[in-house]
C-alpha cells in the first residue's frame, strides 16, 4: 500500500526537481555566482539520481526495505526543499549587494589562500551570518554590505566548509587536527567521569552534566571554536574585536552554561579565552592585552559572574588545545597566517576599520561610510 504511494510521490518529486532546474537563471549576474549555479544543478542531478534509485532499484523496492526507502525519500525531499529555499532562491533574487559581497569573499579567498571554491553570498539571512557548506552559499543580513565591523565574521563562516567537506585532501590536515582536538575532548571528559565516580554526592547528576558538556563540544562547540580561531589566524585582531562587538550587542551572559539544555554556541567568555590564547600564539600580545582590557570592562559592566559549571564546561586546557590544533591545521592547509606582516585589500580594510573605531568612535560612522563607498567603487570597477 505504502509502496504504491511512494511510487507516485517519487515520480512527483522528480518532476519538482526538473521544475527547480528551470528556475536556475542563466546567465548569473557575476562570475562569482557561477559556482553556486553549478552546485545547485549538480545537487539537483544527484537528487534525481537518488529518486531514480528509489524508483527502480530492486533491492530498495523490496517490501522488507520499505522503511529504508521511505527514509531515503524523505531526505531527498528535504534536499529539494532546502535547495529551493536557499541556493535557487538566492540565484533567483540576486542583487547588487549579493554581487558586491560575493566579490568581497572572492577577494578574501585569494588573500588568505582559501583551499576550496569560495562561496557565493546572499544578503537574505534572517538569522545573522550562516553558511550552507554543501551548497557553497553564505547568507548575511541585508544591511551587512553597508558596514564593516561585523564583516570579520565572513572569515569564520569560510571555515565551516573546511571542517564539513569529506574526502578532500586539500583540507585533510585541518580535519586531522580537528579530530585530534575532539579526541582530546573525549579524553578530558573520560577522566572527569572517573574522578566523579570517586567523589561523594549526586554522582549520577554530575555524570549526566559531564556527558552533556562532552556532547556539546562534539556536536557544536568544537567546530564553532575552530572557526573562530581560523578567522583570527587568517584575518588577525579584527576578528577578536568582531567577537567583542557581537557579544557586547546581544543580551547573553558570557559565562552561561546550562546543565540541562544543549547550547549550540560555547559561552562568549570561552570563545574570547580561546581567541586571546590564539592572539598570543600569533605573537600579538599587545593587541591581546588591548582586547582583554576592553573585554574585562564589558563583562564587569554586565555584572555577570562565573557560573560554577563554567570551568567544567570550558576548561582552560581545552580552550588552549583548540587554539593550538587550529593554528597547526590552518598553517598545514597552506592558508596565509595574519601574524602582523600579512597584507591584502580586505585584510587591511577590516583591521583598519577597528583601529579607526577605537581611535575616534564618534567619527567612525563617517569614516566607514567613505570606506564602504570606496569599496563599492573598486568592486564595481
Amino acid at each position: 500500500m505504502i509502496g504504491a504511494y511512494l511510487d507516485a510521490a517519487i515520480a512527483q518529486a522528480r518532476e519538482r526537481a526538473k521544475v527547480l532546474k528551470g528556475k536556475i537563471p542563466h546567465p548569473v549576474a557575476a562570475p562569482e555566482l557561477g559556482g553556486l549555479q553549478r552546485t545547485c544543478e549538480e545537487y539537483l542531478d544527484q537528487t534525481i539520481q537518488a529518486l531514480d534509485y528509489l524508483k527502480s532499484d530492486p533491492q530498495i523496492r523490496s517490501p522488507q526495505s520499505i522503511k529504508e526507502r521511505l527514509r531515503i525519500f524523505r531526505r531527498a525531499l528535504d534536499d529539494l526543499s532546502q535547495l529551493e529555499a536557499t541556493g535557487i532562491a538566492a540565484l533567483n533574487r540576486q542583487n547588487v549587494d549579493d554581487v558586491l559581497l560575493s566579490k568581497l569573499v572572492f577577494q578574501v579567498h585569494k588573500e588568505i589562500r582559501y583551499p576550496l571554491q569560495p562561496p557565493a553570498v546572499s544578503a537574505l539571512s534572517q538569522n545573522y551570518f550562516m553558511i550552507y557548506p554543501r551548497l557553497g552559499l553564505l547568507v548575511v543580513p541585508l544591511a551587512e554590505s553597508d558596514s564593516l565591523l561585523h564583516l570579520p565574521d565572513l572569515y569564520h563562516e569560510l571555515a565551516h566548509p573546511l571542517l564539513a567537506v569529506s574526502d578532500n585532501p586539500k583540507v585533510e590536515a585541518l580535519q586531522h587536527e580537528f579530530a585530534a582536538f575532539l579526541s582530546a575532548v573525549s579524553l578530558h571528559y573520560e577522566q572527569e567521569r572517573l574522578e566523579n565516580a570517586r567523589v561523594t554526592g549526586p554522582r549520577d547528576y554530575f555524570r549526566q552534566v559531564l556527558d552533556l558538556f562532552e556532547f556539546q563540544w562534539g556536536t557544536f562547540w568544537a567546530a564553532e571554536t575552530f572557526c573562530d580561531l581560523f578567522a583570527l589566524y587568517t584575518l588577525g585582531p579584527a576578528y577578536a574585536w568582531a567577537h567583542f562587538h557581537l557579544a557586547a550587542t546581544r543580551e547573553a551572559d558570557p559565562y552561561a552554561v546550562r546543565p540541562n539544555i544543549i547550547a549550540k554556541h560555547p559561552p562568549d567568555q570561552a570563545r574570547m579565552e580561546a581567541i586571546l590564547h590564539g592572539l598570543g600564539l600569533l605573537h600579538l600580545e599587545q593587541e591581546a592585552g588591548r582586547v582583554l582590557d576592553k573585554w574585562s570592562a564589558l563583562v564587569a559592566l554586565t555584572g555577570s559572574k562565573q557560573d560554577p559549571n563554567y570551568r567544567k564546561a570550558c576548561p582552560r586546557s581545552l580552550l588552549e588545545q583548540a587554539a593550538e590544533h587550529a593554528l597547526k591545521g590552518t598553517t598545514a592547509i597552506g592558508c596565509r597566517i595574519a601574524d602582523g606582516s600579512a597584507s591584502g585589500k580586505v585584510h587591511a580594510m577590516l583591521n583598519s576599520a577597528w583601529q579607526e573605531f577605537w581611535k575616534n568612535p564618534s567619527a567612525y560612522p563617517m569614516w566607514e561610510k567613505k570606506a564602504v563607498q570606496q569599496l563599492r567603487a573598486e568592486f564595481r570597477a
Binding site: Q59, S65, R71, I72, A85, N127, M130, E214, K264
Partner: protein, 124 residues
C-alpha cells in the same frame, strides 16, 4: 555563525552517513552473496572508524558522540551493540538480528539528521 548555520553543518555530516547506511541495509536484506559481503564490509569499516576514536575523521567522531547519547533511547545497550555487530559484519553474513540492530542505528541517525534539518530551517 547562527544556530541555524551550525545545524546546516551537522545536517550535512549526518546525511551522508544516513544514506550510506540505509542503502547498505537494503542490500543486506537481498540474497546476492557478493553484494551482501561488500555492503557488510562497507558498514563494518564505517562502524569501526566511528567506534575506534578516529584521529583522522572528525565526522566519524561526531556521529559516534551522537550515537553514544541517542542510541540508548531505542536500544537499551546503546553503542554496546557495536562490537558484536562488527564481528557479525566481518563474517560477511550478518543475520536478521544484526540487520535489526543496524536499523536502530540508521533510525537514530535519521532522526538526528531530520532534527538538524528542521532546526536549520527554524522549525524546531
Amino acid at each position: 555563525m547562527s544556530d541555524m548555520g551550525l545545524n546546516a553543518s551537522l545536517y550535512q555530516q549526518l546525511r551522508s552517513y544516513a544514506d550510506r547506511l540505509d542503502r547498505a541495509i537494503a542490500v543486506l536484506r537481498g540474497n546476492d552473496p557478493v553484494s551482501v559481503k561488500l555492503a557488510s564490509a562497507e558498514i563494518a569499516a564505517m562502524l569501526r572508524e566511528m567506534s575506534q576514536n578516529s584521529q583522522q575523521n572528525p565526522h566519524a567522531r561526531i556521529v559516534w558522540m551522537i550515537l553514544k547519547r541517542e542510541l540508548p533511547r531505542t536500544t537499551p545497550e546503546g553503542v554496546g551493540i557495536v562490537p558484536g555487530l562488527l564481528a557479525s559484519l566481518e563474517t560477511g553474513k550478518p543475520g536478521q538480528t544484526d540487520i535489526g540492530k543496524l536499523e536502530q542505528i540508521a533510525l537514530t541517525i535519521d532522526r538526528e539528521c531530520a532534527d538538524a534539518g528542521a532546526r536549520m530551517r527554524g522549525r524546531l
